[in-house]
Amino acid sequence: MLKGMMKTKLFWPIIVLILILVINLFFDRSFFSIELRNGHLTGSLIDILNRGAPLILISIGMTLVIATKGIDLSVGSIIAMSGAIGAMTVADTASEGSGPLWMAIGLSLIICLVVGGWNGLLVSRVGVQPIVATLILMVAGRGIAQLITGGQITTVYYEPYSFIGGGYLLTLPFSVFIVAFVFLMAVLLTRKTALGLFIESVGSNADASRLAGINSKNIMLMVYMFSGLCAGVAGLILSSNVMSADGNNAGLWFELDAILAVVIGGTSLMGGRFYLMGTVIGALIIQSLTTTIYSIGVPAETNLVVKALVVLVVCLLQSAEFRRKVFGIGKVKPTGEQKGREGVTLS
């Protein structure tokens, strides 16, 4: 039953993803080909995975936040911060030892945890509305990042640092492994323990959850910390990939793409059920869309229009009402009751 639902949830996003990829085929015959160049698997698909890594990461974090009826606008700034911290810690080390690397990773991840926790505290303890609570960091975070880099775009000359976002392992980009790891952790933590259940129940009805003995405050705190952590990792990948820290532009507007990915993946902004796999697919859709726009030579000024249309199509395809009206798929559904403000759900 649940599996069945998951399927329907994932069905349309997957279709769209395939569609976008196939479109590329018309412009570039070799689009799906993957070859082994000097020990690295290369090919558009690999690139999409590789480039998409940061987005997938923050989307995973965002999914849990949204499942609790929350939202995290600060991820973009956190990316900038963690990148800045990471890069600055290794900026003026010329050594080849991996010591500074761990230093950088440790430092920025810890800080990102703290920062995420800060969001969590504002939301769960002070009771600030998520969008505003995280808006604060969205603004201030970039400032802090620039403060760290002194407004410069600091270039890193420390080779090992490039491994995080640029390195290869077993012929695959290392970032792919990072994503896989985080994703698995998230799935294990939420589905093999009761966390997932608690998150969903808090998101679906916080009062009732409290009366059922769930410590909803801590749950919220946790998801925001996790989101912060994910953003931190993403930040490291991004900054390591270009071997520099850019406080002002790193991760700019990522938050919107992340939220988009989550919703495309079938998780409702009204909280409750969440679908990590869906999110990943959503993120991949967005990334392959971007790559497509670049590689098929869409004029720069029309990028946004194209994006808008695709987003609309995905959402419409997911809307049961739309499918019924247009293709007449699916039985007639109750007009009211089920159709709360839950948005795109097929349940």
Binding site: D28, R51, M88, I148, G151, N241, V242, N249, G297, E301
Partner: protein, 336 residues
């Protein structure tokens, strides 16, 4: 408040970047011991309002520093406001400069248009306005004293000309890919225009792909990767609207397995220090200077005007163009 603000700059120095190190001390003294200073300063201590676009690029930060330091070193009082890339903020800032009755307003417009009203208010309040970096298109040029800054279109032309010479003996087609700046931003539009103006004269040149990289390294790299995927070896030239995108692109090219500077000729704008490093190790062929360090030049103008001197409406920042072979010896001399 100003106290935590200066201490903040303290932190800033810990993070070790010369520019901030330089300007911290004067700034602190400035904010702490104003009156005393003004006593020392016999006459002529001007209050100057400076409204900067933001800190969107390395170039911009350097520019800000240069102007800030120049003003303070000359012992004038600085009122700085950062518009966070928003025109409305900039207008607000200028308004409040007017209400604060500063002696001169310096600002680099976010865009050329839309400042007429507020400039008129400034004029009515009898405050001279100095435009830096970007012009405003207002018919009534009595609204500002002078415009000091680079000519983006000219930069584009320089890039084009260099390419034309470079490729003179090569018969086409020469496939060019272009990394634009942020869509709609003045430098992006003008640098594109100037460049196309030149290369379009010869039809062996073809701009096969042109996409925005938002002036950032990450985007520049991502876009270049996509270009390489679709057009690979038959890309001959990369024209990048700024240095950061060029660096990103260079990384992409290397990862793709080509030699930047040889397999693909690379033209970048902004002769920042990094650009020279890149050229020094042969990864970039030419960089067109767009000089941000005209602070002192500006302050002179302001003082001159305050003293009642005549100033012409358009003052170009002296800029030039540097190629690979010059890079080595010039590298040490680059300030930023």
């Amino acid at each position: 408040g100003s106290t935590d603000e200066s201490s903040g700059n303290g932190e800033n120095t810990d993070n070790g970047t010369e520019q901030t190190a330089e300007d911290t001390k004067p700034e602190e003294t400035n904010s702490d011991t104003e009156e005393k200073e003004s006593d020392d300063q016999s006459a002529e201590k001007l209050v100057i309002g400076f409204s900067q676009v933001g800190a969107e690029s390395e170039w911009r930060t350097a520019n800000t520093k240069s102007i800030q330091n120049a003003i303070k070193d000359a012992g004038h009082e600085l009122k700085f406001s950062d518009a966070q890339q928003k025109q409305e903020n900039q207008i607000k800032a200028i308004r409040s400069f007017i209400t604060q009755k500063v002696d001169a307003i310096v600002f680099s417009p976010v865009v050329e248009t839309g400042f007429e009203t507020v400039l008129r208010e400034a004029k009515d309040a009898g405050i001279p306005v100095f435009l830096v970096d970007r012009a405003v298109d207002v018919d009534d040029d009595s609204l500002w004293v002078t415009f000091l800054g680079s000519d983006f279109v000219e930069e584009g032309r320089k890039a084009g000309n260099w390419l034309v010479e470079e490729m003179a003996d090569q018969e086409g087609p020469v496939n060019i890919v272009e990394l634009q700046g942020t869509v709609g931003s003045a430098p992006a539009i003008d640098r594109k225009q100037g460049f196309e103006e030149i290369v379009s004269k010869e039809d062996k040149f073809e701009i096969i792909k042109s996409q925005t990289g938002d002036f950032t390294r990450a985007k520049g790299k991502e876009v270049m990767e996509a270009f390489l995927k679709s057009d690979g070896e038959n890309i001959d030239v990369l024209y990048s609207h700024n240095y950061d995108m060029a660096i990103g692109a260079i990384q992409a090219i290397e990862e793709y397995g080509l030699k930047p500077g040889e397999d693909i000729k690379i033209i970048g704008v902004d002769a920042v220090r990094g650009a020279f490093e890149a050229m020094a190790d042969g990864k970039m062929n030419v960089t067109i200077e767009c000089n941000p360090l005209f602070g002192p030049q500006l302050v002179e103008l302001i003082e001159k005007h305050a003293a009642g001197g005549e100033i012409e409406k358009r003052i170009a920042v002296e800029e030039s163009m540097y190629t690979m072979d010059q890079a080595e010896e010039l590298l040490p001399t680059r300030k930023y």
